[in-house]
């Protein structure tokens, strides 16, 4: 069994994320994005690779969208409405709310402004989103009997999620885009420690290690403050969703703290609507915004007001947010044309601009003149500030996540090839995890380990939990008691907790792990014990028979004093009493000679663990050493012990040396 991974998009490139994962007979499509850099059929993923016949409904179990960016959701209406996929689609609530805005905006730009042939209509978008099942964070959704998916918070943009999917024993996580550091309006990605076979992670910044966001914020604020203080106008071209809000919060907060009065404008339309959504979806934002939302909604910006076209050439400083982000057209281009010729003004560029856009031209060197088309050009004299704000995690973040999840395999997508190669090397060498970065339309088969399920008895589990303390108990009773307790502790701490059990496999039944004690019962057999035995002669001197009466009383006193188990008194057998007396004496001798306080007296024997000593009553004990010259004064003590306590054999040696003086 294995996991098959078909990369339809974002393989060794950034754009049109789309990965189809097959495991356990299920097929999930993660993301369905479009490439912004192409206008031909490379724009969409090659869906024909999923199903040659075009019967996507049976080819795919479900589609899961991680967030609303067009390179993750852009091809969805096309896929559902044009290609005809009718199966289940999952995305988080905010994605469901914001994706139509993005799609419609894009469609308008494409069709209305550029006059392209439309790939899908407004109705398509609406129809498509009707089929979407919304997801909530950490909510496990049972797509069908075998497949379950769960969304985790990913940061990045509002509603972005990492998706965990599980079929049978195979588990994967598809991260989508994520951010491991929080920003002004979103929290950091948050995921449980999961047992994973495969992690498919983005790698936009595969080799970059970013410094603290504070430094970036500081640079940004300083540039803007300097510009407006000098009377200049600031143009901030952004995408309507995400960065715009982030920067806006930053500026609004700074304006508030520094008591600045320069107006901040938000170009109308999409942004206003987006802000409204942001206000509603406050539960998906960062901790701080959530906390303060009861007092004031952060998205009710104090210093931000809508922009009017007539204000473009109004005198005085201002800050303007305009779409689209890469100055590829639309309002931001219009304003750029007006403001670029003045050196007082400032244009901040987003961290990433697609080649071919004006943003890209401005980023690559500082041009003095930009040709818009054959006839028109713009003189660029304004200052350019490049924003390094990025909602993607950096290479340290990727490494952290991989290390944290420790999956068995990693697939890198959504990145540039050479950088991915470097990251792959790092993951393999530093973390020892297999890593791949397939190209588009490449299929990758990952073998997964097989797990066998076994049953476990309750007793075994319980024994696991109390295994450690049985050691403590033993040490409390051990001979070397007063000696090195520290060592005992160290031994205890160093010992790996091993649970011992017996694996029982019966025919037609699942294997079962049982506790050692249960084995006999389960198998229905009797226990046999192996014991070592040795009958040890001990020389007893001055043994004088005493009168019955005196003997009894004395023994009585003695047994009360030393024998804890008073049962021996019940038997009035004189012999027993005498034997007990002997045992008492033996005990005290042993205690003084071995300094062992743990020897206990049972009814007719001395005990230390499995070591038993009793007075031998049989005349011809088979364990007795045949010795010559054994006199009357010798009493035999029969010792026996289990092999596990073989070390106690030494006690016999001690016993042999005894010469007990019997006072009675």
């Amino acid at each position: 069994m294995g996991i098959e991974c078909l990369v339809l998009g974002a393989g060794q490139e950034v754009g049109k994320s789309c990965v189809v994962v097959s495991m356990g007979g299920k097929r999930i499509m993660f993301d369905c994005g479009m490439h912004m850099g192409y206008l031909d059929n490379r724009r969409f993923p090659d869906f024909s690779l999923i199903s040659k016949t075009g019967d996507f409904d049976s080819a795919l179990t479900c589609v899961v969208i991680t967030h609303f960016h067009l390179d993750h959701v852009g091809a969805l209406p096309y896929f559902t409405e044009v290609c005809g996929y009718h199966g289940p689609i999952y995305m988080t609530y905010p994605t469901k709310a914001l994706a139509p805005l993005m799609l419609e905006d894009y469609r308008k730009v494409m069709v209305d402004r550029r006059g392209e042939e439309e790939q899908f209509t407004y109705d398509h978008i609406m129809e498509c989103l009707k089929k979407v099942t919304p997801l909530d964070l950490k909510q496990t959704v049972q797509v069908d009997k075998d497949l379950e998916i769960r969304a985790y918070y990913a940061g990045h943009v509002l509603g972005a999620a990492m998706i965990y999917a599980k079929v049978g024993e195979s588990t994967i996580v598809y991260t989508g885009d994520y951010n491991m550091t929080p920003d002004r309006h979103l929290g950091a990605a948050h995921i449980d420690r999961l047992q994973l076979d495969l992690l498919i992670t983005e790698s936009t910044y595969a080799t970059t290690i970013r410094d603290s966001k504070y430094a970036r914020e500081r640079e940004f604020l300083r540039a803007i403050h300097k510009c407006v203080a000098g009377g200049g106008k600031v143009l901030i071209p952004t995408f309507a969703l995400g960065r715009a809000q982030e920067l806006c919060i930053l500026l609004d907060d700074y304006w508030e703290r520094m008591n600045l009065k320069v107006p901040i404008y938000f170009s109308a339309g999409l942004t206003i609507q987006a802000n409204m959504y942001y206000k509603m979806l406050i539960g998906w934002t960062s901790q701080k915004i959530k906390e303060t939302s009861s007092v004031r909604n952060t998205f009710d910006f104090k210093h931000v007001c809508p922009f009017d076209r007539s204000l473009i050439n109004a005198p005085g400083p201002c800050v303007l947010f305009a779409t689209p982000g890469m100055i590829s057209g639309g309002f931001s281009l219009e304003v750029f044309k007006q403001w670029a010729p003045s050196e007082l003004n400032l244009v901040t560029l987003p961290g990433y601009c697609v080649a071919g856009t004006i943003g890209h031209k401005l980023m690559s060197g500082k041009p003095t003149r930009i040709d818009l088309d054959k006839d028109t050009y713009v003189d660029v004299r304004c200052q350019i500030h490049q924003l390094s704000f990025s909602p993607h995690t950096d290479s340290k973040g990727i490494m952290d996540l991989v290390e944290y999840l420790s999956p068995k395999h990693v697939i890198l997508v959504h990145g540039e090839k050479p950088k991915m190669a470097m990251l792959k090397e790092r993951i393999q060498s530093e973390l020892g995890i297999q890593c791949y970065y397939p190209a588009n339309n490449e299929k990758l088969l990952i073998s997964t380990t097989q797990n066998v399920k076994i049953d476990v008895t309750k007793k075994f589990i319980r024994s696991c939990s109390s295994a450690m303390l049985s050691n403590v108990k033993n040490s409390l009773l051990s001979i070397s008691d007063s000696g090195s307790k520290d060592n005992e502790i160290i031994k205890l701490a160093r010992e790996d907790t091993t649970a011992e059990g017996i694996l029982l496999m019966e025919k037609t039944k699942t294997a079962k792990l049982i506790h050692g004690n249960e084995l006999l019962h389960t198998l229905g057999v009797k226990e046999h014990q192996v014991r070592f035995a040795f009958c040890c002669p001990v020389e007893v001197t001055r043994m004088e028979p005493l009168s019955d009466e005196a003997n009894t009383t004395l023994c009585h006193v003695n047994s009360i004093m030393k024998v804890y188990v008073p049962r021996c008194l019940v038997t009035e057998d004189r012999l027993t009493t005498a034997n007990n007396t002997l045992l008492d004496i033996l005990l005290s001798e042993l205690e003084t000679r071995t300094e062992c306080k743990n020897i206990q007296i049972a009814s007719d024997s001395l005990q230390l663990h499995t070591f038993h000593v009793r007075v031998c009553s049989t005349e011809h004990c088979s364990y007795r050493k045949k010795e010559n010259g054994v006199g009357e004064s010798v009493v035999y003590f029969c010792c026996s012990w289990s092999p596990c306590d073989d070390r106690l054999r030494c006690l016999c040696v001690v016993l042999e040396l005894f010469k007990i003086r019997n006072e009675y």
């Binding site: 929080p182 907060d253 024994s463 696991c464 109390s466 450690m468 303390l469």
Partner: protein
Amino acid sequence: MERALLERLQRRLSPGAADARGRIQALYSARSLIGNPDSTESTRRSVVDALVASLRHHQDDAAFVHHALKLLGDAAVLCRPFTHSVVAAVRPFLDGGHSLTADAVAALSSVAEADNGSGGEGFSLVASALDGDRILSLASSPIVAVRSQVLDLLVRSMERGRFWDSFGHHTTIQVFLGLAMDLYPLVRKRAVDGIIAVLRAAAGDVDRLIVECCYDRAVVLLKDEEKLVRLAAVKLISECGELFAASQGETEHSEQMDVVFVQLCLMARDMCMKVRFEAFIALGKVRLVHETVLLQSLSKKILGIKSGKAIVECPAKVTKISLSSAAGAFVHGIEDEFCEVREAACRSLGMLTIFSVKFAYEATNLLMDMLNDDTEMVRLQTLQTLSHMANYDRLTMQDKHMQMFLGLLADISASIRCLARKLLQLMKLPDFVSFRDTIDCLISNLEAFPEEEEDIFFVLFSVGKRHKNFSTKLAKEFAKEIDLSCGELILDSNEVAAKLVLFISSSFSNGQRATDIPMALYSYAVPFSGRFARALRGAVDQDSLLVYLCSHSKKIHKICTSLMPIHIAISDITCKRNVLDFSEILTCSEQTQEKCVFLNEETMQSIKLNLETVRKTWPLMKSHCTQVVQNMLRACKEELETIAWNADDGAASSFLDFAALYIQVIQLVNEILGKSLPKKSCSIGMTVLDVIVERLDMNLRRLRLLEIGVSPQPILARLTSTISRLEFLCEGPSNLSDFAKEVKHACTEGTAALFSNTYVFRKLLELFYPEQITFTGRFKQKKAEVLVIGNDSENPLTFVSGLPVGIFFRITLYEILNIDRLWLLLAVGGSIQYVFLDLSQFEGCDAVRSCTLIVPFHGTPKATSFLLRASIGIECPSEDVTNHSKAGAGSRFYISAYVLYGKEQFFLMKNFANLVIMPRIQYRLGDVLSMTIFSTSSFNKLGVHLSNFSNSHLENLLHRLGYDSTPFFGTMDKPSQEGSVSAYCAQSPPLTPPSQV
């Protein structure tokens, strides 16, 4: 009821009762019987006994036993005496591996818990019931409830410093270590808590190996799935780390600590907020870490580490841990989503800076970034951390930081601004540019938040003191600027004040360097001395500051005086150092004047001109042009009062008061001269002179209250006392002028002779001349304000004649020392009631103290209304009592006749309320309307106090008094600060208060 309940309960619990439900119900009533505070001891005893007995009989009923055990536990808590029987009853259940054991342990646990230390035997009882073996067997019970209960009991008693004698440290640790690997997360967590408690209780007295064991276990638990366990493990790691460090002694660093540090850094990336928080707290406590490791935690990039230090081997266990795991822990920490974590990271960062200069340098970068955090709490913590670093001399400000930091001064939050400025005081600024930026920022700070002036000045002062060279440089630039501006620069601005405080500060601690600062700046600073002194928060008082400034501006002074020829000749005034408490002030006269000039140039100049005029009158006086002199003086006085009216500057008022009194004294002297001199010397009406001299005497005393010694030339019967006063003023006879000596001599010869002998008198007169004395310092005027609360013209206080009336006084005293004895004088007609004022009742300092008190006035007369005059008297320390018993009216002490402030209160019945004649009040210069408008004879004036009066009222009143209201309105539009209007009217037809008794 109680009995009935008890009986039913006993019946239901009896051995024979088979009803299981009934037993459970019996427990309810048992609980209420025990819990009811009114239950008798015997009832409770019976209930407990019944329960104990029933436990024995119904052992098999698990549900019942479960509840009964719980109840017994609670009973033991409620009533201590039952502890014994409860423990005994619970004991049998401790054996055997069933879940009831857990309940039994829980019951014991609550018994032990109830015994909170002091002398209770609960714990020892429990300890006896649970010996070592039993605890071990319970702790290794297969039932999780039993384990967790026993563990809980152990940990709790451990945390309270109770030990189980039955087994020592080692076994306890063993048990905890064992249970720390339990299957159940809560048991694991509790066991780790237990280890921490043991380690703490041992207080360092633990074998290092054991600590290492605990540490190893904690390391394992750091990877636990349950966050609570991870949290506890982090705490344990921190605890072990401290023990390691302690055992390490003072060595530079230990590899073990490196490992601890890296482990904690790893935990700082945990997904659980609480774990991260705890990890950062723990990171702050780590010591003896190698610098490379510390630096690594500040950088996300893996630092190139030389000589194979990249991996440390944990000595105890053979696990290798890469130092790179620590990478950027703090970078992540300060960017954390939760402000608690950021705050903790920030604090720990500060603590670690102590160990390494390089680390501190790098950390500053991070901390500076944090100043832009969106949470105020974090910004505050950052500032505190920076201050902490500055205190340990670990703060090096770089250029790039200054901008960020100075931005903080404009922060919206006052506490941030304040803390930022505080930090500024501790900082060492890298170069002149940032110094100048800092100063500019502070000045704009001052302009934006003028209410924080004192704090800002103080900071400027400290900054200047710290950066002498920079401020000297800036001072020179500023001085040049002033020169170039040709007087166009307005010196009376906040900016200038701020700069001046900076400039003067740099020389303040080091006298020799003072010359570096252009002298002119000191003199410019003089007028701000009040503001500066206030801002310096008692570090230096205004007087000494003034003197300091003056002494430094000596050279420039000459130019100043030539521009503004003011030399105040206050004749006859000696400066008495010890009495006047001016000891710290140098005697350099002109400088003082200069201060006054800057204080309120215009006012002071006119005062001085007036005084100059007074001086000029003296020759005239000697040539007996009494009337001319009188006119001149009167004109002077009027003018002074105009000035007083216009000057709302409180600082000038004392000086004005002094000037007015001085002129009054001269006037009196003039009068005396006029009356006593030449021709009709024998026929002088003694009584007239008496009155005048007494007035003179009184005025002299008042002058003394202004803390200035005055020695005029009295010539009448009371000369002796005046002489003695002079002696007192001049510290003994040796200092007396020739004149005074002669007068004394004359007096001792006999007063009669003096008066009959015109020659002596003339000789004296010849001897007398006004001596020009200059003095320095501030006028400290002893004065008092008495305000009667609830008494205004329209609603006067009411009284019942013959009965005492309580009067609310609000008394404010200025410049009264602790040793002064003050009396409140309540006078109606001739009778005076004296009330001693206990200064301890007053709040405030010597400068101003105030108090509100109710004083009963006993002598209410039989009249519809009466005038009560309240005034404050001060006891004169060394007066000749016999000579002055007049005012004291037979009392043993003498209450000085000069009253600090008197206020007459008008008591009348309601129907008289519309009579709006107000009593005469002592006036305070500067508070009242000028008298130029009405008064030509300034002595007998009737003060009309008009509070809350509309103009029509006033007009009405004045009309009734026979005044034309027109001139009045010329000055009426300036109400004094209390919202009332005060006016002095000349009293041409003496007006008797209509209703006075």
